[in-house]
Amino acid sequence: MLYFEDFAPGAVATHGPLTVTAEDIIAFAEEFDPQPFHVDARAAENTLLEGLAASGWHTCSLMMRLIAEGFLLSSASMGSPGIEEVKWLKPVRPNDRLTLTRTVVESRPSKSRPDMGLVKFAFVLTNQAGERVATMDNLIMFGRRPTAVIGAV
């Protein structure tokens, strides 16, 4: 189990890869973001994205899955208050293989809740060519490591 104390500033880890297919891209977009460049490969050719690309919200959701499976599910996570910034830098294309790198930017104990600490992360999502396709900066709250009671039987 990972606690607040396990996320030291400067620590870097990598999660994934995860491959996204054309079917995944179209299925997400048909449900949540049916703009031509996310659902129709031919129509997408004549748009700014110059071909089928994942919805940015799909990209964020894939980052979430990499975060969950990469470390959050085995941590004392207490959720996130939000996202400072996401940049969608390059289109995520069918069959892209995505890897997430996380860097701990800073960490501090909560003033109001002694059982909790806040960790600020910088996430970078890269494709199989090593290109940065998205970045995300946000806080995640974690429980503090329970202190061992010295001398307890």
Partner: protein, 158 residues
């Protein structure tokens, strides 16, 4: 709102509502956010959320769903055959906040309000529109907000 020139700063547009259910919350979580409080009611009751609640990314994606649907309706009203043609992709967003949990059974009403529009030197055929976007639950409580940006096509010159 068809072209960049038509975008009006300050107008709040109602996008409609999205109903969060056990089924759609769990289906989204299984694909993207398999934390126990998004997947399983019994586990959620024991968590700090107290009950089954939606992934924050599900809350965000539902805003987008209603935004696109609203654009299609508006374009259809105007008799334009190419819905959405004025809207391009987005370079990103800032200041996204999940202010309260969105629980199964909640109905969230979403809005968008243009806060800024600017010309782009690098892309003379396009402008950039910035909006503050919000979601309120059935009690009127703000549950979700973010500031988004989108490329919008300028009116085609003949």
């Amino acid at each position: 709102m068809a072209w960049f020139e038509d975008v009006r700063i300050g107008e709040t547009i109602e996008l409609g509502t999205y109903a969060f259910t056990d089924e759609n919350i769990i289906a989204f979580a299984r694909r993207f956010d398999p934390q126990p409080f998004h997947m399983d009611r019994a586990a959620a009751k024991k968590s700090h959320f107290g009950d089954l609640c939606a992934s924050g990314w599900h809350t965000a994606a539902a805003w987008m769903k209603l935004r696109v649907a609203q654009l299609k309706v508006r374009e259809a009203d105007r008799g334009i055959n190419e819905p959405l043609e004025a809207f391009g992709p987005s370079p990103g967003f800032q200041d996204l906040k999940w202010l309260r949990p969105v629980y199964a059974g909640d109905v969230v009403r979403y809005t968008t309000r243009v806060t800024e529009k600017r010309e782009l030197r690098s892309r003379p055929k396009w402008g950039m529109v910035t909006s503050r976007n919000e979601g309120f639950n059935q009690k009127g409580e703000l549950v979700f907000a973010f500031t988004g940006h989108v490329f919008v096509r300028k009116r085609l010159s003949d």
